[in-house]
Symmetry: D2
Subunit: 259 residues, 4 copies
């Protein structure tokens, strides 16, 4: 299996998970374990560093790479400041850029995202930008020094699946850095499909966090991502229009018996 | 996890596989192993019982339940004769009924399939009928004593996926015996999807046999079926139309810093 | 344009409409007019022949062919009796067979439908059977003397569109009598799509009757059906994977200006 | 019917057509006539103004508004120059901005498109920018003074349909200037669907130009666009999951007869 390398780290797991929306943060370690993930994203707010109380960070296993996100940023400058703050606070130098000023569909602002990526990559961050699926923006993100591109399958938190396949497939073909499908994936089958399309990884949050059993759902995504990747590497067979017999159609056995 | 029971046997694996189209039957044991399957279907012709030579049966591990199919049968009578012959020859009392007279799309004949099921169930066979997805035919198959119903996702061997979701979903809801989606499944994501829909199992042949690496593809389907079943049992979250923030949207952290 | 002939009648319009669910039957003539339809189906119950009062039949323009349906029939015998009654009452010799015993999804019973078709065709009826999309049943309906086959796109009244394309496309290719897509069509675009697939006609009821403006919706379907048929006859272009410039891509004009 | 107004002109037809790829430009007037279009786009190169020979412009009926496009432009500056040149040459002040540097999928560059729009709108052009479907870019185009936004359904010339529905639907809801779906529409049903979604118009070129009969296909699109718009205004009914009887299900008539 080809390995996934992001920001110099080799990852065994192609499933990144988010930590928002969990009914109880105490469940996070178990979900992380079940999902096999090695990269966990969280909003800085949830980190709540000053607090003496329960802190989300305490629940993220140490072997995971933290991926602070800039949730709440409405433009590049805000994203940059949040990223710097996260690093200062000891969250490491990975950052997921989210620049969102659309409060209804939470769609990202590609132009501001490119700008933030450029600044942060120069400052040594490993930048994973969340983006609207758009080839030219993806090319600009590569030029800006992004470590991955993270096109959305559907609006955040909708569980609507990969509705933007047409555009993501092109990004996968044309972009040389890892492509991580982020947002919209609501079912393991959709994660598998992203991998079959050739995506390098997926990021899932809502689908796991809002399942009746997040731990089992984490496990389900773990398996599905492996399944999809294996299938991609084992090369899927072609589709055909007409039926193709798996078994012989002539009833010779019966005929033999009959005669 | 609820268990799958067919014909009195409790199955750990919800993936049934077919043995047609493999480039070399020597690979079958390895595929069976990778796929985790416990039920293997084969056309009687391939069994080639008289032959002293290489025999497909020799390659099917002993822990698997044999599922001879009536491939080649064009009507109920032919199917019945093939089934009886298989039992006589020592292939056990499971049978997958395929009655096909359409040579282009290989679509099954539900009416004849019901008739064959009725006869064979009375003779003590465990009958798994391949069918066009049709609720009323499924009800008749239940009445006729079928052990499962096996509606098609798309014509045999096409790898076109589950194109008949609308009808299969209804069968899953309305029929109380196990529903096995058979034919058409071309990718692990599609097998996962069938399981997420609530299907009890899937049968896959072409997608595995014609992959570049059948063993890896068998493994991929193994994982995908588990993923889909786990997701079904962990209860998928709902879809929504608008975006739902996984992370807080108000940039208070930045604002705090800024002030 | 190839002409549509059913039961010896040449029809200019490929849109058949139903009369159930209209908020007020007084609107029927206007809808018929807007839709351009020449064939109108109605349940016998609505005809209410004895009644001195408002009668649906009075609202169906005389130039339309009446297509009484056997709605309410749970088996072939009941369908046959309803059909005979309709003819006796002067509704003509066309009949749409609906045999439904599934009260949740209202899916038709193909086996009983074939039986009813056989009986009624022999009695001189022009039989248009509503069916689950299934090639072998369609072949039996042809053999039984059906004037058309009417496979469903989705359950009656759901407006879910043509979810059974895979199976209907095969019926269109393999069956020589007219194929009328019935049930499920919820939007004019879906009616157009059925026609582009090569269907001979569509039957629409709920989508028109429950629109905010049934008359305008009738007109919309009228146009869409013509559009789809015209496109089918004008032969659609192929799909391609890569972009194909409609206009020249080399900026020679600019270059010329620049030099 | 709400009217479509672009650049101060009230348009009766919501179908814009392109002139590339026609086998013979002599057919253009007939296609224009059949399609009912009032806006015709063409690449400047094809206009070939100096030439004494056959000129595409001579074939575009005078009642149509010319929409020169900037095909061939690889950045904003080139697009601006082509637009100015077109105006100088007497092609009027409408311009469709196409900025494309991706030669494989021909996907537009939103960032450069915004820049070109800003410049040209200030110079009094009526600017119709072709774009990747992206809400934030659409908002910037509005701010830049665009007369419409023209998101793509699929790559130019592919006839693949509206594969970006998820993103276009959001643009339709959130953007107040007319939304014209451009590129990818391959069938009349897809044009109808765009209109049902609430798009204000569609632009079609390849699907008409490469049909076996462009004139009939132009007519088909004409009807389909009207159908879709009418349906949008007549308000489509809802989808439901279960069947809803169009006709009464209780067989009382038969029962009456029977008794």
């Amino acid at each position: 299996m080809n390995q996934l390398v992001i920001g110099g780290k080799t990852l065994q797991s192609r499933l990144l998970i988010g930590t928002g929306k969990f009914p109880d943060k105490k469940i996070v370690p178990e979900v992380v374990e079940a999902s096999g993930t090695q990269v966990v994203t969280m909003a800085l707010r949830r980190v709540d560093l000053d607090s003496k109380e329960d802190n989300l960070l305490d629940y993220i296993p140490k072997h995971c790479t933290l991926l602070p996100n800039t949730s709440g940023a409405r433009n590049a400058d805000e994203a940059v400041r949040i990223a710097r703050l996260a690093r200062t606070m000891g969250c490491g130098n990975w950052v997921k850029i989210e620049v969102i000023s659309d409060n209804k569909y939470l769609l990202p602002d590609n132009m501001e995202t490119v700008r933030a990526t450029e600044i942060l990559a120069k400052e040594g961050f490993v930048v994973l930008p969340y983006m609207n699926p758009d080839l030219m923006s993806a090319k600009r993100l590569v030029d800006a020094g992004a470590a991955t591109v993270m096109p959305l399958g559907a609006p955040i938190g909708t569980n609507r699946g990969i509705r933007t396949k047409e555009l993501i497939q092109i990004i996968i073909e044309e972009i040389d850095i890892p492509v991580v499908v982020d947002a919209g994936i609501g079912r393991p089958s959709e994660a598998a499909e992203a991998m079959e399309m050739g995506a390098d990884a997926v990021l899932v949050n809502t689908a796991i966090a809002t399942a009746n059993s997040p731990v089992h759902m984490g496990k389900a995504f773990h398996l599905a991502v492996q399944a999809g990747r294996l299938a991609y590497e084992a090369q899927l067979g072609r589709q055909s229009t007409y039926g193709n017999a798996s078994s012989p159609l002539t009833g010779f056995l019966y005929e033999g018996v009959n005669s």
